[in-house]
Symmetry: C2
Subunit: 595 residues, 2 copies
Amino acid sequence: MAENESIHAQRIDHVRSLGYDAVIVSGTDPHCSEYVAPRWKQVEWLSGFTGEAGDVVVTQDHAGLWTDSRFFIQAEVQLFGTGVELHPMRVPAQVTIPEWLAGRFDKKPVRIAVDGLCQSVGAIKELKEALEAAYGPEGYEIEDLPDMLSRFWSERPGIPDSTVIQPDEKTMGESRSERLAWLRAAVKEAGCESIFISALDEIAWLLNVRGNDIDYNPFVISYLLVTPKRAVWFVRHEEDVPALTGVENAPYTALEELFDSLKEECGRLMADPSTLNWHMYRQLKERFQGRHFQLLKSPVPLRKAVKNKKELEGFRRAYIEDGVAMETFLHWLETSVRSGAAVTEWEAAAQLEAIRSRNVNYRGQCFATISAYGPNAALPHYSTPREGSAVIKPKGLYLCDAGAHFPYGTTDTTRTVPMGRCSRQEKEDYTLVLKGMVDLSLAVFPEGTAGCQIDALARMPLWKASRNFGHGTGHGIGFWLGDHEGPQDIRQNFNPQPLLPGMVISNEPGLYREGKHGVRHENVVLCHEADKSEFGRFYSFETLTCCHIDLSIVKKKLLTDRELDWLRAYNRTVYRMLKSHLAPEVARWLKRKCR
Amino acid sequence: MAENESIHAQRIDHVRSLGYDAVIVSGTDPHCSEYVAPRWKQVEWLSGFTGEAGDVVVTQDHAGLWTDSRFFIQAEVQLFGTGVELHPMRVPAQVTIPEWLAGRFDKKPVRIAVDGLCQSVGAIKELKEALEAAYGPEGYEIEDLPDMLSRFWSERPGIPDSTVIQPDEKTMGESRSERLAWLRAAVKEAGCESIFISALDEIAWLLNVRGNDIDYNPFVISYLLVTPKRAVWFVRHEEDVPALTGVENAPYTALEELFDSLKEECGRLMADPSTLNWHMYRQLKERFQGRHFQLLKSPVPLRKAVKNKKELEGFRRAYIEDGVAMETFLHWLETSVRSGAAVTEWEAAAQLEAIRSRNVNYRGQCFATISAYGPNAALPHYSTPREGSAVIKPKGLYLCDAGAHFPYGTTDTTRTVPMGRCSRQEKEDYTLVLKGMVDLSLAVFPEGTAGCQIDALARMPLWKASRNFGHGTGHGIGFWLGDHEGPQDIRQNFNPQPLLPGMVISNEPGLYREGKHGVRHENVVLCHEADKSEFGRFYSFETLTCCHIDLSIVKKKLLTDRELDWLRAYNRTVYRMLKSHLAPEVARWLKRKCR
């Protein structure tokens, strides 16, 4: 710890030596990604914190990490001795970075530095509003220092350059040229002629390309400019990148110079403020002044979220194949643990990975498998350590949350399984979480309904027992893209996006008791049209996930007949779909489990 | 019809003669009220439409009425032959007045007149934004013509001047001086020193006064200015109005002149843009320029919505007394209709009124009783006609939605009752609506939950049968104030206001089949704290309404045991609470009904 301490203290001093009142180092990359490549793990380099969400602020007398409740325990451990203080977010008393900075300084003007490449336009707008309210329009300055940390970070990794993959367009259900034609029409519809896209999943979807530039995310680090006549892909090592029909390649690092030559043909240009970085925004704004540059929501996420027929075919296949792996794994785990073998959480995750890898189409995890036993499962985002992970004993609950990429879809499944005797509280929590998942699975709702309007269904059984969980119930899932994608979700926050037929979304209520146990049941569901009547169109969910749910510890009196029927029918379907693909002993075991 | 036609055509021509491109005549009053006194029934005078929500726009070549789906059928009947066209609102293809005006004219500047007294600041802001986007900042003019219609409306009623009532402050649970002291602190909290209040229910609550200036609404038409030292009540006929301790009276019609003299002591003044009229806003803005006048949400509605102990005591009493009236009425109705008497909807409503009037504390209806039989009940806002209302036959469903004022609370109850044989569809609709009402009654939810997050509970049974209803599920209810009050509600629209312990709110799902029948079951519930656990505070509902629910036509297989248990326990409680207050034959009848 002493060494780490001095390393991080030294790095923070480097940042202080820039001479600003405050320096913000953000946890994202120039594409506002959720997961980032090693080059942009700036928060980790600076503070040692490895969580997926966090920003650091360094002032002359303070260094703080802002992260949310998912990462509090991890942050406390990793920040110990670094002198970096935790600023908790997503708690009632939260103070955001803009709010904190607005109340911090007496002198004027307050001088703040950011790496503009790693700040969204939206984040800077919020910051400016807070600073202006506190210090007046002349009372602050925000300076853009692109790639700021490179000055001190001598071993900083380069921009990643994994091989660009061109998936079979037939599997995608839509060709690149169809998607670009649709995009051009959508841009016109929005009153513009061209669009500049920074979001990596949008680019991967539009161009039908995949890569391995970021762990768990099959993206290619790049920007895309689509004008009425051309599509220019700003991508590193342009010689290494295949020429895509209808697309011109240009260098990633020198795109600013190209803007001038492109300006004429762009006409009115749009970009999405939630994913455009501030540095690029400033470059674009300088060139496309006034009415020629508009910050507008990108039309891509919604279109991408509504899966086409081919994509849904692929999803169904992916969930069956991943179900085979999951059942094989769960059979192995139960057999091993009950036979007295000392299996650790890490070994269990490794075994699942080995089983999945038997499928030649497996393209890797879409997030690091959460393999958590007993009290560890009480951390919804538990990061299973390679060394010293817990041994899974033949009692209590084990939780496995794992997702896989296939060229025909992405999966995300959580199963909590009893490893032996369970306490009454474990059984009750297990049953109530399951009840919530089933109730949401059984929902029917009219056209226009948003996720936040039905989120309570998954929580009501817990609420009635004075229990609750602190994360969202459902997130969209990409087609061999990100494990989390918008614009829809199912959570308490007001998100006006209605659920639409073709959207794929997770259904994952949970319950976490610190120091005791954790439960989460997660299926992935497809929204589809269920009926049309004189009262309008009604939608419901079809469950895609194909992996049995252990009913042995369910407290039946907490379930209605309808809920039990659903669970039994689900398990029967799982067995019927999987039996022919399983090893005989696994099939026999599953038959027993699904009885 | 011919006479009406020419009257309305003539009046519209008068409005045209003002010489504007468009004149907007709104359906509200200078206090942005939902119900208005005859003086402000301007839409009715101009177009003949009597619904509670509607605005008219008159251009040189068009006259249109904008109203929502609740009033379409009524509007079609009442506008027939007037030349006024219906513009439907709350439908997917709705075009609001600002949008319609923005797309209407070729010339510039477009000149629009409004009665600024009857337009909220918010409505004018929306109008300006639409016009500026369409015609540019110089391309339009909005003129304020206060009391515009008085130029042509020779018999226009005056400002109402009902007797001002001072309720017993003990019943209110809080004195005027306590409320004013709280308000001054709340205004300070908001960064201001004084507040100008236009909303009539806020004034009635703050000053502990009631009146009869508006049908169904016990309000006194007035404005209130509260400064750190004084409370000035701008109220008509100041000599007739009692002197309230701590309050100075001033004339309603001459308040603008008083502003100058008050300006100094007001300091920073706030007013709520959702209830402040545009005319008054302009007067205030002119005098309290820049930072001295702030448009801010009034703190009163939230505080008023959270009922104190005394108010809740009163509510409980009111619901029992109104339950006695309702049961006496329902017994009379069933007995009369089954004995072969030809009871009309109007006569039924009159009988309920007569029964209620036996209670000396009854202070009148809080809205016109909806007494609707058969297909008429399919209109959620059916207005029972005095002449020619339907005869209630001994078959099918009868719906009665009625509310009463007492000095100790306001009630609002809907019962749908089978008058004899019912069709399978009637029974099913009846049961599913009831199921939704019970499911919402059984809800438990964490602190912070808003109504839109649990609204789906009341709808899910209908949704699962591909049915739905087009109105909100619940609205707040005043304490001897308006039947509708905010800030909370239970509906699909995103309203971030959490439900809080002490809030009183209706639970009234429905189902309407045009030309066939309508069902609505409405109880009023109180939000209270149910439990506190390691997962936080949890709230639930206590039902205040005390009137049995007819279970004779319920399709039991559509209900869970839990739901049936709730219904049976509810009826048992109703019988227990009411039996000693009922006439013996009514008590015997109710005992049978509640068995």
